[in-house]
């Protein structure tokens, strides 16, 4: 083999052809791939025939020469077929002519009429060369070659004119044809040449054709050949060349440069090392170009896929989409738009300072293009469609302003659930096929994740949103209040309760539909006033709550004023002038100033809003918290506070008449209960003042005290006046007075704020009371005050079944019940009040004591 010059090149080229053929065999077959396989097969026959001819292997030189020559003669035709298929041409006439022409000259080729088999000549240096005898016969096939080459050239020119020179792969195709032509011309044009220019050109030709198919995205190289396989092949080629070049190089250095043997060996070794290093670098680069980017993309996609599939937050997924796209596609900005109200509105931008006030109508031509044609839209391609004509100027301007060049759709079936907008690449580079593939993969993965996250968020939101107004609901309010109370710690937290005034009347006047619309507008007004500083909830039919973390009472009050003003303006709009003006009553309480628990904050704000209602509505009441009154002034202070009720001043005008009517009724039925109620009201109110409750709370307790046993009206007199022990049924009837009281108070206009106190006056601190059995601070403080006062008066006054108990005994009883029956703090204060005589006793007790 070594006697044939450059045989190793032929062998290497043959190996490459074979490798390419085997590789491409695995690719999905299209007409272009079939045409390429035909070219490769022909190249294998040509190179294989040439190698075997030079080696003169059985059945002999002539046979292999014929194989090689026939394959070479067919090559032009196959290249024409490839170009024809690549350009999607339909006309077959010329193709048919060329095939017939090839068949006609085939006998002459096989018989050696055009070119006789070469003669092997052994030179003096032992090398075997093959000499050809040319005569005029060779002109016959040459005419055919010229015709086919000319037809191919015309075809290529036509394609370039029609599709433009930038059509993918077309330039490569032209280059491959030229390389093949030049290689063959060099082969026959240089006299005495033994170097296989044609083989090298054939290899480059085949590689370029493969690249042209790759540019047309006919296959992905990494799917058909692995990096390791390519490395081994490249290494084998390099080593073959190195091994075969050492001898000629040494001859060259010794013979022509005249160096001594030692120097010659050293020079050759050095040169070989340099060439190998260069070859290594080049091969490495080549492999990196082919594989590294895709490997990198694959890694990114794998990581992205795993991350987004674990996320249930759309914001988080959008962040990840932006990051992964920015890392792989060099664009300035990535926007993500999600559907809302007939538009796709921007929800994310990779640049934090960019505006998100972007929206694209769902009816816009871009969206219909994405829906009907492609999963992505390149602006330059979109311009070529008629849909572009119907684009609004502002839509064009949006793309121009943001420099958007590509839009990809995230889909759920046919529905587009989001858009990814990419700004143009630097220096007006276009998006490569790999980048578009990457974008499509990312959006496809993100679509599923976004859909799941959006569904989850929707359900999450629906569970927390009031369907009518869109504000958060009561359930979420309770959750959020506890959370914020804990989060604020020692910092302030303000709660506003906003109660719509006379809403029942509003509904009756204009119907429920208009009432609902008013609620929605009020919610809107509140939300606008609150902004990002707090959260708005609809806690019941006509009551809204606003939670303001880290904001004090003053801020709460200014906000409340703003809200009142906005609500007042709602029905001033021309189309709503006919409607009654809306107003709200606002109660405010702030922790830690006036509440030490979330529950207390809620109760106090509730109380404040009730007081605002009582105070004539359309006003703001702040729960002020503990009073700093001195004990010696206690009785006077209590009198002063409750005096407003007694005299029916201001907001208590209605309350007084109600209370008077009810107490008169109980007096008529059972005088003891009437006197007892008055005592309890006085004791409880004084205790409340002493415990530092504010004036509103004191008045509430006083009024509740007067009415706490009102339910006894429904208890039969024989039970009420029974001297003996009550039977279980009788006891049950007696216990029912609490619920009866509630039932009666519930129907009194604007007195329902007394319910918590009345309801809880038989409850116990340890939860063993009735009717609800609630314990500790869950019990409203008003009820806890009433419970002590009620027990004290019941024990100290004469009852039909026993005489009043001694005062000291009663106090000891209260002390014993502290922490079990009674609030320990209040019990202590109460006992202290009695012992220090700060609390005026009832006439009966005073007389007995006296």
């Amino acid at each position: 083999m070594s006697n044939v010059p450059y045989l190793y090149i032929n062998v290497a080229v043959l190996s490459c052809f074979t490798l390419m053929f085997v590789t491409v065999l695995a690719v999905k077959k299209t007409p272009e791939i079939w045409a390429f396989l035909a070219v490769l097969l022909d190249a294998i026959l040509w190179a294989g025939g040439s190698v075997l001819m030079r080696l003169q292997i059985w059945p002999g030189l002539e046979f292999w020469y014929t194989v090689s020559l026939v394959a070479l003669f067919i090559m032009e035709l196959l290249f024409y077929v490839f170009t024809h298929t690549f350009a999607h041409r339909k006309g077959k006439l010329l193709l048919g002519i060329f095939i017939v022409w090839n068949l006609l000259i085939l006998p002459g080729t096989v018989s050696g009429f055009y070119l006789a088999p070469p003669t092997a000549v052994t030179l003096e240096n032992g090398a075997t060369v093959f000499t050809y005898d040319l005569d005029w016969h060779i002109v016959i096939p040459c005419i055919m070659f010229v015709c086919i080459i000319a037809a191919t050239a015309v075809l290529l020119v036509q394609v370039m004119r029609e599709e433009g020179t930038h059509s993918p792969g077309i330039q490569v195709l032209v280059a491959s044809g030229l390389v093949m032509l030049v290689g063959n011309l060099l082969q026959v044009g240089i006299p005495g040449n033994t170097f296989p220019f044609d083989m090298v050109a054939g290899l480059i030709f085949a590689v370029l054709l493969m690249y042209a198919l790759y540019r047309r995205r006919m296959f992905r190289l990494t799917l058909v050949v692995s990096r390791s396989l390519l490395t081994v092949v490249m290494a084998a080629i390099c080593l073959t060349f190195a091994a075969n070049l050492v001898g000629p190089m040494r001859d060259f250095v010794e013979g022509l440069l005249g160096l001594s043997t030692d120097w010659a060996i050293m020079s050759v070794a050095l040169a070989s090392a340099i060439v190998l290093v260069l070859a290594y670098v080049l091969v490495r680069r080549l492999l990196d170009v082919v594989f590294v980017r895709e490997e990198q993309q694959n890694k990114l996609i794998k990581k992205f896929s795993s991350e987004v599939s674990q996320s249930l937050s759309t914001a988080d997924i959008m962040e990840k989409i932006g990051t992964v796209l920015s890392s792989e596609i060099p664009v300035e900005q990535v926007y993500i738009c999600l559907p809302a109200d007939g538009y796709y509105r921007a929800r994310y931008c990779s640049s934090p300072l960019a505006t998100l006030s972007i929206s694209i109508s769902k009816e816009s031509p871009q969206i219909s293009y994405l829906r009907e044609q492609e999963s992505y839209l390149i602006l330059s391609e979109f311009r070529s469609t008629t849909k572009y004509l119907s684009l609004w100027e502002e839509e064009k301007e949006l793309f121009r302003r943001l420099n958007i060049d590509c839009v990809a759709a995230m889909r759920d079936g046919t529905e587009i659930i989001g858009l990814v907008l990419l700004s143009a690449k630097e220096r007006e580079h276009t998006f490569s096929a790999a980048e578009i593939n990457f974008l499509e993969t990312v959006t496809s993965i993100a679509s599923i994740a976004m859909k799941n996250a959006a569904l989850y968020e929707k359900m999450f939101r629906e569970a927390r949103i009031d369907p009518l107004t869109g504000a958060y609901n009561y359930r979420f309010f309770v959750e959020k209040l506890d959370e914020q109370f804990a989060a604020c710690g020692k910092e302030c937290l303000t709660l506003l309760y906003i109660d719509v005034d006379d809403f029942k009347l509003y509904n009756q006047l204009y119907g429920v539909g208009e009432g609902d619309a008013a609620l929605c507008r009020i919610e809107e007004a509140i939300t606008q006033a609150v902004g990002d500083g707090g959260m708005v909830f609809r806690t019941s039919g006509k009551v809204f709550a606003v939670l303001l973390p880290l904001q004090d009472t003053q801020r709460g009050r200014s906000l409340a004023r703003d809200i009142c003003e906005r609500v007042g303006h709602i029905n001033e709009a021309p189309e709503r002038r006919r409607l009654k003006q809306l107003s709200v009553s606002v109660g405010i309480c702030s922790a830690p100033y006036a509440a030490s628990s979330a529950k207390e904050l809620m109760d106090n704000a509730d109380l404040a809003v009730y007081n605002a209602k009582q105070g004539g509505k359309d006003q703001i009441v702040i729960f002020r918290g503990a009073s700093d009154l001195m004990p010696q002034h206690l009785a006077e202070r209590t009198d002063a506070i409750v005096d407003r009720i007694e005299r029916g001043e201001g907001e208590y005008r209605t309350a007084l008449s109600m209370i008077s009517a009810l107490t008169a009724a109980i007096d008529a039925k059972d005088h003891y209960t009437y006197a007892h109620s008055k005592n309890v009201a006085r004791y409880a109110a004084t205790l409340a003042v002493a415990a530092g409750l504010n004036d509103d709370q004191v008045r509430t307790i006083y009024a509740a005290g007067l009415l706490h046993d009102i339910g006894k009206i429904s208890v039969p007199e024989n039970i009420l006046r029974k001297t003996g022990k009550l039977e279980p049924e009788e006891y049950q009837i007696m216990q029912s007075h609490v619920n009866n009281s509630i039932e009666m108070i519930r129907h009194l206009p604007e007195m329902d704020y007394l319910i918590p106190a009345v309801l809880g006056h038989h409850e116990r601190w340890d939860g063993k009371g009735y009717p609800r059995g609630i314990a500790g601070e869950e019990l409203p403080i008003t009820a806890r005050c009433l419970a002590i006062a009620d027990a004290f008066d019941a024990m100290t006054t004469d009852r039909p079944y026993r005489k009043g108990l001694p005062l000291e005994y009663v106090l000891e009883e209260i002390e014993r019940g502290s922490g079990t029956q009674f609030d320990p703090h209040l019990a202590e204060v109460f006992v202290q009040l009695i012992r220090t005589r700060s609390l005026p006793l009832s006439q009966q007790v005073s007389a007995r004591k006296g």
């Binding site: 004119r161 029609e162 599709e163 433009g164 020179t165 930038h166 059509s167 031509p365 330059s380 391609e381 311009r383 070529s384 469609t385 008629t386 572009y388 004509l389 119907s390 609004w392 100027e393 502002e394």
Partner: protein, 535 residues
Amino acid sequence: MRFEDKLRSYSREQLWNEYCGFLDMSLSEYMYTQRRLMEEQICLWRQSGLGRMLLRGQSPKDLEELRQMLPLTSYADYADVLLPKRAEMLCGEPAVWIQTTWEGGLRPIKLAPYTRSMLDTYRHNLLATMMMASARKKGEFDLKNGDRILYGGAPLPYATGLMPSLFDEDIKFTWLPDSNTNSDLSFSQRIKKGFSMAMSGGVDFFFGIGSVANYITESFGRSSGGGHGGMKVSPGNAARYLRAKYISRRDGRTIVPGDVFRLKAFFFAGTDAKCYKERLTKAWGIMPVELAAGTESTCIGAEDWEHRGMVFFPDACFYEFIPEQEMRRNLEDPHYQPRTCLMDEVQAGETYELVISVLHGGAFMRYRIGDMYHCVSAGSGQLPRLTFVDRVPDVIDIAGFTRITMSSMQEVIRLSRLELGDWVLKKEFNQNEDPFLHLYLEIPPDAQCGEVATRAVLTEHLSLYFKYFDSDYGDLKKLLNMEPLEITILKYGTIAAYEKRLGTRLPRINPGMLDIRGLLRQQDGLPVWEGGRQS
């Protein structure tokens, strides 16, 4: 990207789709584009000062509401805003104001604002027009950088002067000559210069309004017949000339431009263009392509290589059509609001008056442009094809130069101080198919005695005042060497008698041809035919 760069980097198919893709639109796609762009325009226009002024406090939300709320408009509705260039009243900032003739000397000019977006669409559509006209079949257009355009348009501020500047933004054409850079030259000097340049390097496209194109063509014939002064002598020119000489001698006629030049396309537009079509086709060896463009409307339609009528661009204006019957009813009763139909409602074989709403921030909404179009083909979901007929009947336009109305005619008669009786004015065509003004005139008995009232003197006298009153009328003589006025003197009382017999008033401008015949028969004492019934 400029069009010349697109020519290098885009495939022909891509370019064709971008510019001429609308030809393949279905009617529903076409209407979708029209309605969507109109929706944008309504949003912009109703908020502008001009929109509020014309809508009188109403606010239409969509097209249907707009058609109900806004009556059809004419330039008089816009004059107070547009003539003083009150840009703050418009819905888009004007990039340029374009001028045109309004109503002769009575109300000399109209001004129309063009927004940047309108200019972009105008340019896009002009390029589409050139591609369509130069194509020999779909997608195979022949347009390249450096193509030479023989141009017979007026310079800025007229709409024709926009074309060179607009094309310059996208592609480098050679204008023969550039009307804007050569605006100091007179019309005939420009024509001469254009021909001289054409002879030096050839010509690929020819743009001109019909009458001007005809004049240029005839000028060529005259210059070639009487020598070719000013032409540079070069081997190329000589060869071209010799070849033309040979062909003309072979065919036994004078040299025509088609012997010298091989045009890719020849565009013509304007009133009376049709009457020049045949002779222009003969002269240039290529059939002219009809183009619809106007000052208020921009370029709205063009024919393609098949010459089957114009397709209107879907993105230039929103089109409404007044059927001829409705238009005539409105002519008789000016208070009648004619009904309109949309592009998907026009019927083949019908003639319509065009109503436009300029898109992309334009000022004109439901504007009666005053042009009549005939629908050549429509139906089966195909885009309708239309061809220009003439101006509306109450305006006489001669060769696209002048607009003569009833009031302008009255003013000319008043200025002339001639004691004239009743008259009717009609646009007619002579045996060469050249348009002319035919005035049928009565002379009162006193004037017959007291004044020189021969036909020649009257023609001379009235022409003089026409030229004085309306400079565009003067241009007909100056630029095109046309004397369009002819007078026929009727017996005194003929018109009144005819009207009495008919029982209706005869339109003074452009009455029907039957009425003219009726007048002549009335004068001769012959029975008058009225709707086929002898009276």
